[in-house]
């Protein structure tokens, strides 16, 4: 018979306000095997932990039940405390009476009743707990960063600086991401390229960093410290090692009418192209959707002009398999499509542009060489209307996004200010719901736009934009003035909401990393573990976790790198002992478990068993590799003969919990 101690936590008033903690500890004291039961204000505090340790030593407890918050929060804390007092950490059970009880009940009676039941279930389980010992697994000392924007670059640089090798996988032909398309950065107005491109070069020159551009992650296997990742290196039809980036081919290519994605389709490029002058790696790529040679087999101009013989029309996609100890997701964001917002006439007039397109129109390397001209007729615009929150903060979220995209207030202030500075003859209107500019020197920046640059900030939304006789008739409401406004604008700029890159969702599935309803990666704890995914060994960097500006992205990128470095500095990792185990005598070798195992942890062997009358027979039985098994439990459900069981969560333990709750 176990000797069990029960420790009920108040969590300040988090639990105690809706659960009668005294009644819970009294009720659990009467459970079989419980030799001690108490409650305390903060069980996770030093005093609380001391109390548990003292009682283990004093009463010789063989099992401990802590009724507190979710095990995701403090299971590790209490296990560690008990281990210090000499108890096997797997003899500790947590009854979650906060997230699954006190926080969701309003009525103290029903909250208390439920807390008692959850406590009883935990006590019943501890009776069947057995001491478990964790094994160890080695750590592959190389990191993978998925996404080569400013987030990925910074993370890779910081990891490489600590001496660990890093691979950056980037789906585009060059690293740099969205920041390469931005003209100037707020609130200092320094040129984005001038602060980004040196970092891109640093990454390329760092001997610990290996850039896999034009590549995508295809499959991820394994677990923390031991990931095996398949990477597809897409055929760029140019030998990256030979290409010098001279650009001759991109001048001679006869296919001139390819929309240039770097300038968001505002101008064209050739079928063979280098995305922009400062691209890293500075190597050309052939766009197979437009290349006449690849489509019809007739042309070959680029091959003829290339002096180093880098063009290779026969190149095929290659699959690369590599081992990593840690993976960082840095997949970034995209502005949303304007399809559902045609009241702003985006599809009807080329003079209605998104903010990112406006960046290109203001950029010296953009389609207009940095002179702001209307895309429709190339004339200088005199009246500009900026519309904020297009698709952000939408109720219900069907048309747009429920969240605030966070960066738009600042970049719109920047656009408005730059326009007024370069072209003092312009009238600039900004329509807003709220102006949100927290951040160092941010509000001062916005006020400068209003006070020094005379930008007209109008609280209210634009209802409609009507293209008429070369003008854009803007109908809007001025909520503070209480009037309808009709503005004849020359250009309208839409601050489109941001959403996670489309590649994030399939990647999350491969990584078994969780996402929220908006497809942003979820962090392990919103406050205390913001750069870690709940999946061990997977870290988050930049806007894939939520909308962020550049300073915040760089800060988070560094934080993610620090976590990776911490992991890679270890030689061995403690494994989770709560893994599946197959009872060979009951296993009939049906393969049901192998089929459901997402980690490939189950193999089959032919094993010799003793039969009746001194005979032996060979039987096929399942074997679990405890270093690969993640303890998900899928096999225990699939096994028809009940041979599979999960240590620490055995069928008997689960049934005991159910019985305790239902009896």
């Amino acid at each position: 018979m176990q000797k069990i101690g029960v420790f009920v936590c108040w969590c300040g008033s988090n639990i105690a306000a809706t659960v009668d903690v005294q009644a819970v500890s009294d009720a659990l004291a009467r459970e079989p095997g419980v030799v001690f039961s108490t409650n305390y204000q903060y069980m996770c505090s030093q005093a609380g932990q001391d109390m548990i340790q003292e009682k283990i030593r004093e009463l010789g407890l063989t099992g401990v039940v802590v009724c507190s918050c979710s095990p995701r929060m403090h299971e590790a804390t209490f296990r560690k405390a008990c281990e210090k007092a000499g108890l096997n950490p797997y003899m500790v059970e947590i009854a979650n009476i906060r997230e699954q009880c006190s926080w969701i009940h309003k009525d103290k009676l029903s909250g208390t009743e439920k807390a008692v039941l959850l406590g009883k279930a935990a006590v019943a389980k501890v009776h069947l707990n057995t001491p478990l010992t964790a094994g160890e697994s080695p750590v592959t000392k190389r990191a993978l960063v998925i996404g080569g924007g400013i987030a990925g670059i910074q993370t890779a640089l910081d990891i490489a600086e600590a001496g660990f090798p890093v691979d950056i996988v980037e789906k585009k032909p060059t690293i740099g991401g969205k920041m390469t398309q931005i003209d100037k950065t707020f609130p200092t107005l320094d040129c984005a390229a001038c602060i980004l491109t040196p970092k891109m070069v640093d990454a390329a020159q760092n001997e610990n960093i290996n850039i896999l551009s034009y590549s995508e992650v295809e499959a991820v296997k394994g677990f923390v410290g031991n990931f095996t990742v398949t990477i597809r290196r897409k055929a760029r039809f140019v030998d990256e090692t030979k290409c010098t980036g001279c650009g001759l081919c991109t001048e001679k290519c006869p296919q001139k009418k390819v929309p240039n994605e770097f300038n968001l389709g505002l101008d064209t490029r050739r079928a063979i192209y280098i995305p922009f002058a400062q691209a890293v790696p500075k190597a050309a790529a052939i766009d197979p959707n437009y290349c006449t040679m690849l489509k019809t087999g007739k042309c070959g101009v680029c091959s003829k002009v290339c002096t180093v013989g880098a063009i290779d029309y026969q190149q095929k996609d290659e699959l690369l398999e590599r081992e990593y100890g840690a993976i960082v997701a840095a997949t970034g964001f995209e502005p949303i499509s304007m399809d559902k917002f045609d009241e702003f006439a985006y599809s009807q007039s080329p003079d209605v542009v998104t903010s990112l397109e406006f960046e290109r129109l203001m950029n010296a390397a953009g389609p207009t060489g940095g002179t702001l001209l209307r895309p429709s007729d190339g004339t200088h615009p005199h009246t500009l209307v900026f519309v904020q929150c297009v698709g952000s903060r939408c109720d219900g979220g069907e048309k747009g996004k429920p969240y605030c995209s966070k960066i738009c207030c600042m970049y719109t202030a920047k656009h408005a200010m730059l326009t007024r500075e370069k072209y003092p003859d312009t009238e600039v209107y900004v329509f807003y719901i709220d102006v949100r500019t927290p951040g160092k020197n941010f509000d001062e920046f916005y006020r400068r736009a209003v006070e020094e640059y005379g930008v007209h900030y109008v609280k209210g939304m634009v209802g409609k934009v009507v293209p008429e006789n070369g003008k854009l008739k803007v109908q809007a409401s001025d909520l503070l003035g209480g009037q309808q406004l009709h503005i004849d604008a020359d250009m309208v700029v839409l601050a489109a909401a941001v959403e996670p890159d489309k590649s994030a969702r399939p990647l999350a599935t491969m990584l078994t990393a969780s996402m929220d309803t908006n497809d942003f990666f979820t962090e392990a704890h919103p406050k205390l573990r913001p750069v870690e995914s709940p999946t061990a060994g997977v870290f988050l960097s930049g806007a894939c976790q939520g909308p962020k500006d550049i300073p915040e992205t760089v800060a988070q990128a560094g934080a993610a790198a620090a976590k990776v470095i911490g992991l890679l500095s270890k030689d061995r990792l403690t494994c989770n002992p709560c893994v599946a185990r197959s009872d060979e005598l009951m296993c009939n070798g049906c393969s049901a478990c192998e089929k459901v195992c997402p980690y490939g942890a189950i193999t089959y062997i032919d094993k010799e068993f003793r039969g009746p009358n001194r005979t032996t027979l060979l039987r096929r039985v399942a074997q679990v590799n405890p270093a690969v098994c993640q303890g998900c439990g899928a096999c225990t459900v699939a096994c028809p003969s009940g041979a599979m069981d999960l240590q620490g969560f055995s069928n008997a333990q689960i049934m005991a919990e159910v019985d305790a709750i239902c009896k």
């Binding site: 009241e343 009807q348 048309k399 209802g463 009507v466 008429e468």
Partner: protein, 263 residues
Amino acid sequence: MTYSYFPGCTLKTKGRDLDIWGRAAMEALGVELRELPQWQCCGAVYPQAKDEIAVRLSAVRALASAGELGTDLVTLCSACHHVIKRVNRDMRTDETIRSRANTYLQLETPYAGETKVLHYLEVLRDQVGFDQLQKRVVKPLTGRKIGAYYGCLLLRPSGEMEFDDPENPSILEDFLRAIGAEPVVYAMRNECCGGYTTLENKPYAVKQAGRVLENAASCGAEELITACPLCLYNLQVNGGGKLPVRYFTELLAEALGVKEGAV
């Protein structure tokens, strides 16, 4: 598929084309529209006064009558649809209106908003399906650039009409694609045509209708379709004749090959 059908006064007089081609097309699609027996005017304008009960009564009669037949009620005229759908919601959600209307009408079974009100376009989209409609088209309107004119009543207020986004609608464009035409999106497609002001402020109605047609034409539309008799009248009479304006049902009948031979 069988529905009760409320044509409304205008569809029997000025707006006969909307009704005739609408029925012919549905017959061709195998959908039965049964005209409600002894229907009356819908009330014409949805009353803004919360305590105005008399104007709501005729709509309630139509709704209750469809309810007795156990069928959903289909309307075609934008104005009728607007009034009937909103009164139906009042009967379902407003206790005072419900009890006063029932006290007055003394129906055999009291009516509490049970009937489902569908616009003809909703039947096409959600019951027939635009993909199915596309398969039934025998004379696709290939190459015709057509602008959809929604007007103000059809989709608004969106919380009550619940059938498309009033600021950026797509149902008529999807319909045009289904019958093989090329839809032209233009900004004025969901603005008021000015028709309501035609008696008291004719210059405004003329200006507004002109803007609609100008804008549609500048975006490349060669003709317009609408579901509203008042819009059609106003755009034709006050719009300056820049573009032909027709009912969407006429084009539907044309595409389905039933325009010839019908009355």
